[in-house]
């Protein structure tokens, strides 16, 4: 079940990003976000040094 905070976050994000979210398909947005945030949390909790470089390297 989505929390009220997640519902608020989705409503604010949709307005800010100008993304239409139809009530008919709304329930799948928090369901997907919950999965993504859980997986992002798994990555975020992994300690990396401050000087860790992201994978993509741009060369001028």
């Amino acid at each position: 079940m989505p929390t009220p905070e997640l519902d608020d976050f989705i409503a604010a994000s949709a307005r800010t990003l100008e993304l239409p979210v139809d009530p008919a398909w709304y329930p799948m947005i928090p369901a997907n976000l919950e999965v993504i945030f859980r997986l992002a949390g798994l990555v975020a909790e992994f300690k990396l040094p401050d000087d860790a470089e992201p994978a993509p390297v741009f060369r001028a």
Partner: protein, 466 residues
């Protein structure tokens, strides 16, 4: 009697080159197979018959003049419909993209295969915008598995797997961002190669997640797979990720003995959720190779999580304007994940990309000790079309997101993989042979040895007769 449906690509090319069969006869036979079987398999979305006939006639004319016709002379092939094909809108499995103007030029990979004598016969069904592991498509209907049309092909290169397994063509091209070549290879029981990230140009193909996108071939024999791959290698303009590496042909060394190659399996994450069939296939492959060592693969679950975050956010960035203006024209299952991805804070993506480099360094250290690692390709054999969930280790999980649990941690850092089909009854399932970056040759040699031993094979679907 030349068996057009069962002949390998290289068998066809030899026969055409020697004048034993004409390219035109080969292409007519392929078009007839597509007409007969595509209504059941739904692999093709476009058939380029006129173009293919003209190309075949040109090859036959060259043969008649005694001119060279290339190593893939007369071989019919088809491409996932996210490759640019001159004259067709590049639909990428979507409703929206089919309104695009027709492509003005073929993808360079098509150009390279045709320069080698192969003949494009059409474009193939796929999951919308490649965000899919099932092979289902709400606009074009599902790709259907030749071993059982009520079952999934796997995706997103579902038509590619189905067309090769169903004997419509001996070669097909697909794309693989998180597993979209290896999953259909497994469920359809054909060989698939996901080369090293940056090995094959992605120019003039419709992207999904440029940080993770790869293109590669499907075939029914390892030699065909390697020959197709060899014909496509080399630097190319138009894809900044494509490496400035010279082509490194794999075919000449395919049959080299495996002596000295250190081959291991990976435990932990790669055994969790695996079905009995997956365990059987992995055990058969490991036994045939004498691979008794089991290594610990670092942080695979976190790698999959990071790939998931990068995928949904980069995918959302790509489709943002379409999500704003035409959300009703998406497949709902794709749209809802992309909208969620658009709302993910950027810090999550930055962290995922930092973790990616850390993880790459750790995994590459493993390849100091081993030359190849065997891991499952999919948790199970082909689910039924429309099936929403399956049980992994007794836990009910969504099919769509979890068919790629074993492929995502590998493609996340661009390692080359050959998916080798183990012809279990009634349905096949594949094992991934994972090698160090730029060592496709190692994975292909091992796949070839497994094929020679009879452990890996693209078995003809029982419903097509013997």
């Amino acid at each position: 009697m030349f068996d057009h449906g069962e002949a390998s690509a290289l068998h066809i090319a030899r026969a055409v080159t020697r004048g034993e069969v004409t390219a035109s006869a080969v292409i007519e036979a392929a078009l007839a197979r597509i007409a007969a079987h595509n209504p059941a398999l739904n692999a093709f979305t476009d058939v380029t018959a006129d173009r293919a006939r003209a190309r075949a006639a040109a090859i036959d004319a060259r043969c008649a003049r005694g001119e060279p016709v290339g190593p893939l002379a007369g071989v019919p092939f088809a491409v996932k419909n996210l490759f640019d094909v001159k004259g067709l809108p590049t639909r990428a499995g979507s409703k929206i993209n089919r309104e695009l103007p027709p492509a003005e030029r073929d993808s360079p990979l098509i150009e390279r295969l045709e320069a080698a004598g192969a003949v494009l016969v059409g474009a193939l069904n796929m999951g919308e915008y490649a965000y899919d592991f099932t092979g289902e498509n709400i606009h074009d209907g599902p790709s259907r598995n030749p071993h059982d049309p009520a079952r999934m092909t796997g995706g997103s290169s579902g038509g590619s797997g189905g067309a090769v397994a169903g004997r419509l063509v001996p070669l097909a091209l697909g794309s693989d961002t998180n597993g979209s070549i290896r999953v259909p290879s497994s469920l359809c029981g054909v060989f698939g190669l996901k080369p090293t990230y940056g090995r094959l140009t992605r120019a003039r193909s419709f992207p999904f997640v440029t940080s993770l996108d790869h293109l590669g071939p499907f075939a029914r024999t390892v030699t065909d797979l390697a020959a197709c791959y060899d014909a496509m290698q080399g630097p190319a303009a138009g894809d900044p990720v494509c490496a400035e590496r010279p082509a490194k042909p794999a075919v000449p060394a395919l049959a080299d003995a495996l002596g000295g190659l250190r081959i291991a399996t990976a435990g932990g994450y790669f055994h969790r959720g695996l079905s009995p069939e997956g365990h059987s296939a992995l055990a058969a492959v490991a036994a045939a190779l004498g691979a008794t060592r089991e290594i610990e693969w670092p942080e695979a679950a976190r790698a999959r999580a990071a790939a998931y975050v990068i995928t949904c956010t980069e995918g959302a960035a790509l489709h943002m304007e379409r999500l704003r203006t035409r959300p009703q024209d998406f497949d709902p299952a794709v749209r809802d994940r992309l909208i969620a991805g658009a709302m993910v804070p950027a810090v999550a993506v930055a962290q995922a990309q930092k973790f990616r480099r850390w993880y790459r360094d750790r995994v590459l250290a493993l390849f100091e000790e081993v030359d190849a690692v065997l891991v499952p390709a999919t948790p199970c054999t082909a689910p039924r079309i429309g099936q929403q969930t399956f049980k992994l280790d007794g836990v009910e999980m969504p099919v769509r997101a979890n068919l790629g649990i074993y492929t995502q941690p590998i493609s996340f850092i661009g390692l080359p993989v050959v998916a080798v089909p183990v012809p279990l009854t009634p349905l096949p399932i594949a094992v991934q042979i994972v090698a160090a970056p730029w060592r496709e040759d190692v994975a292909l040699r091992i796949a070839y040895a497994l094929e020679e031993k009879g452990v890996a094979a693209a078995r003809k679907p029982a419903r097509m007769g013997h």
